[in-house]
Amino acid sequence: MLVELGLVLIAGLKFGAIYALAALGLVVVHKATKTVNFAHGAFAMLGAFASFLIVVQWEWPYWTAYLLIPITIGAVAALLEFVILRPLRRADMFTVVIATVFLGIALGEAFRLTYNTELLAVPGMFAGSPFVYWGVIITQETLWVIAGALVTAVGCVIVFRYGKLGRGMRAMAASVRGAQICGYSVDQVYMVAWCLGGALAGLAGVFVAPIAGVSVELSIAVITAGFVAGVLGGFDSLKGAILGGLLLGVIESLAAAYISSAMKNCVSFFLLFFVLMWRPEGLFPEKVARRV
């Protein structure tokens, strides 16, 4: 009984860590540009696909995937920001959202055209014997996903908190005009935000590839889970995104184990529905300093 619960929780944390990573990229872009990037899921899918190319097709060492893919996808995201979103800088959010929605579709279709299969399988990084604690089996892969994704996420929070880059993005989110006056370039900050968001999406793709495989559907799965996780965390808080991701993973896993597998997917809609209706600031709001 307890062992089963432990297994369910571990599985939930594994998905949750990936959701956290996906949510983090969305939140970083949103924090700087005030817009949700609907192509985010497609970036994650491209990351997963690149991971297939590196690991299966070209048989390079696995760690190169973790190194090269975030850099590549980050660069692709920055490039697309430059080509498609910079000309739309003066357009309203409505237009920008539509552009990113169809950008995501275009990326997914480009993938489908180059590699027309249903589902590509990618092996895990570790295949060693699992650890067993009090009857709960934890594979090395699971441990790696949870630890790796969380370390990356926490590192990201620290960079955002203390780095010059993070300061620029937060300034931009607070007031574009004010940040410009203080010497931050909108174009530069937006591009860097997209690059960072793309890198995080790519990394999420590498982590998720062994679990879910690579397919066009992956992009929708990643973006909906990432968005729900972000909303749970209040969408403007990086720490909230990480906690939201973990929470969503655990709740989904519990629902799948104890209610039904169909419920796993409905849970995210109900969570989104209720949080947006009754607690739009998220479940873990950042403390708002009251200054006078």
Binding site: L88, F102, C266, M277
Partner: protein, 603 residues
């Protein structure tokens, strides 16, 4: 003029029927293609309401369509309900789905809403796939041939006829709403929320209505297409089809019924000609939409309009565009308004603001402020920046809540009443930063100012406008008279955004007086105007107030303007009223001068 206006509303209906008749003369395969395209046209028009006018992004059209298709099919196969009733039920379940999405969705705009629809879409398809006992799961269910009063709809011609007739009727109903006051109010609500609320348009109610009406039509279209698809399976209503439906109004043109027709029809037929390169079709469509968004925000309609001149009349000219030369029908005198019952120098109080308090954190923005405005009088409110004028003004106009005190307007307390209730009581306003509805014509702006803008009312009015009813005629006549009163009669059919700042301020005044209010709240009415325009506007305000017995409360920085215009004046400083009385006398008081210039009281 009303005959021609009515024709404008009928034209899409006629076009759809013509497509149907044309299709009937063609070979069977083309009959099939046209039937499918007609369904897409209906979806396109439905999405013009939601995406184009209300500017809500929906990625759930596929799910809503699936809900409609499954509703009618399951009712036919499981319960044995006739197809026509199944269609009605499909519209109802579609509407229900729209209402459900709108519940959390319309509290937020932009990406939150889009994301809610995407999650709804994903979950709906999963549920349809998982509920095998009901829907047959991923293998799908067979849709029986519909029978309508003994007519078995079996071959391509039958289907085309059925789909053509029903979609034409649905498109007609939608186009009546789009072109009538409902559509205009929806555009106003998405264009400028605060101004819309001030004139009685409840923005959340309109967005919900847009979702419900649009989803109703999409659900209906699902049931309409179901027998033609033959086998229903969840995947054919997936995320990808949903997103491509979003492309219909964007590519076609978001502001008019024609945009929905062209986008829906065009994007649905195009793949049939792209068969040889079918693999690239989705990539092509996605790139097409990005290109349209970046370079042709007006879509195909705008492109056609540019190349063919005036073939497709602009939507924002619809109400006034067909009007005959205006002076001919403008009454010589302003339209009858509430007869002056009080002499202009009456001392009866119309608006009494008493002891209003408001804090922002530790800042005491409004401190026990009290002012009174007499019936038909013009009262000024001045004070240096940060004195609390705007806060007090916002409390009176209902956009900010007071912590204490009372506002009494002709015996009614205004506290706890939303801003949009004020117009019905006889209070309208203008805005410091002009807030005209830019995409709408001047005439349409003023018609909104009449204030009968509840959702149900505007739907009724839309049908009345369509048949050229007496109420519609009266609305146009009153609005033209108000435009004439401010000197804008010759601009009636121009989009409001094309006017100069001075004329936009006049338009705001026309919009504020058309409902014959008893009080107008003017928020810095002359800011940004040149000095000759200031004087013109002052005369216009004085004349309007005197002729129509309208009281005014004016917040303004331009002291000479206020001194000349107002009969009484209050001065605010640090949240409190520090001086009151005759303007010319008040502004010479040492305390007031000190407030503005820091002069010593002894000086």
């Amino acid at each position: 003029m009303f005959k021609r206006f009515a024709f404008g509303g009928v034209a899409p209906f006629v076009a759809v029927l013509l497509c149907t008749v044309l299709g009937l003369a063609l070979e069977n395969y083309l009959k099939y293609v046209i039937a499918i395209a007609l369904v897409s046209m209906l979806i396109g028009v439905a999405l013009v309401v939601l995406v184009g006018l209300a500017r809500c992004i929906t990625l759930a059209s596929g799910a809503v369509m699936a809900i409609g298709a499954y509703t009618s099919t399951l009712l036919m196969t499981r319960v044995g309900i006739p197809y026509l009733i199944g269609l009605v039920c499909a519209a109802a379940t579609g509407a229900l789905a729209g209402w459900l999405i709108a519940l959390p969705g319309t509290r937020f705009r932009g990406h939150n809403l889009a994301m809610v629809t995407l999650v709804f879409q994903a979950v709906a398809i999963i549920l349809l796939r998982e509920a095998k006992w009901l829907t047959g799961g991923a293998e799908g269910i067979h849709v029986p041939q519909p029978v309508i009063f003994g007519w078995r709809v079996a071959n391509d011609a039958d289907f085309l006829l059925l789909i053509g007739l029903l979609s034409a009727v649905a498109i007609l109903l939608l186009s009546i709403l789009v072109r009538g006051p409902f559509g205009k109010n929806l555009q106003a609500a998405s264009g400028n929320e605060i101004a819309a609320e001030a004139f009685g348009i409840s923005v959340p109610a309109y967005l919900r209505a847009a979702f419900v009406i649009s989803s109703m039509a999409v659900g209906f279209s699902g049931a309409l297409a179901a027998p033609r698809i033959r086998i229903l399976d969840p995947e054919s209503f997936g995320v990808l089809p949903s997103i491509f439906m979003l492309a219909y109004p964007i590519v076609g043109g978001m502001q008019s019924v024609w945009g929905g027709l062209l986008g829906g029809g065009g994007l649905r037929i195009l793949p049939e000609f792209l068969r040889p390169v079918a693999d690239f079709q989705e990539l092509f469509f996605a790139s097409l939409v990005i290109a349209v968004v970046m370079f042709f925000p007006g879509g195909m309609v705008e492109l056609l309009r540019r190349s063919t001149g005036r073939l497709f009349s602009r939507t924002n000219k619809q109400l006034a565009g067909e009007a005959p030369p205006l002076p001919a029908i403008i009454p010589a005198e302003p339209i009858a308004h509430v007869a002056p019952t009080m002499p202009a120098n009456s001392s009866e109080v119309l608006l009494r603001v008493e002891g209003i308090d408001r804090h922002f954190g530790a800042l005491h923005a409004v401190n026990a402020a009290s002012i009174t405005v007499p019936v038909g009088g013009i009262h000024g409110l001045i004070g240096p920046n940060g004195a609390g004028k705007t806060s007090l003004f916002n409390i009176i106009s209902g956009f900010l809540e007071a912590e204490q005190g009372d506002i009494d307007f002709a015996g009614t307390s205004l506290l706890d009443r939303p801003a949009r209730d004020r117009i019905a009581l006889g209070i309208t306003r203008t805005f410091q930063h002009v807030a005209v509805f830019g995409q709408l014509s001047c005439l349409e702006n003023v018609i909104i100012g009449r204030g009968r803008n509840a959702v149900v009312d505007s739907i009724k009015q839309s049908f009345d406008h369509f048949v050229g009813g007496r109420a519609a005629e009266a609305a146009i006549r009153e609005a033209l008279a108000a435009l004439d009163a401010v000197g804008l009669a010759d601009q009636a059919s121009k989009p409001a955004s094309s006017l100069s700042l001075g004329n936009q301020r006049r338009l705001e005044l026309a919009r504020a007086i058309v409902s014959n209010p008893r009080l107008i709240l003017l928020d810095e009415p002359v800011s940004g105007l040149a000095s000759d325009e200031v004087e013109e506007l002052r005369q216009l305000l004085s004349r309007t107030s005197a002729e129509r017995q309208i009281a005014m409360l004016v917040v303004e920085h331009n002291i000479p303007f206020v001194a000349k215009l107002c009969r009484t004046l209050s001065v605010m400083g640090s949240g409190a009223i520090v001086a009151e009385g005759n303007p010319k006398e008040v502004i010479t008081r040492p305390g007031v001068r000190q407030l503005y210039f820091g002069e010593q009281t002894a000086a």
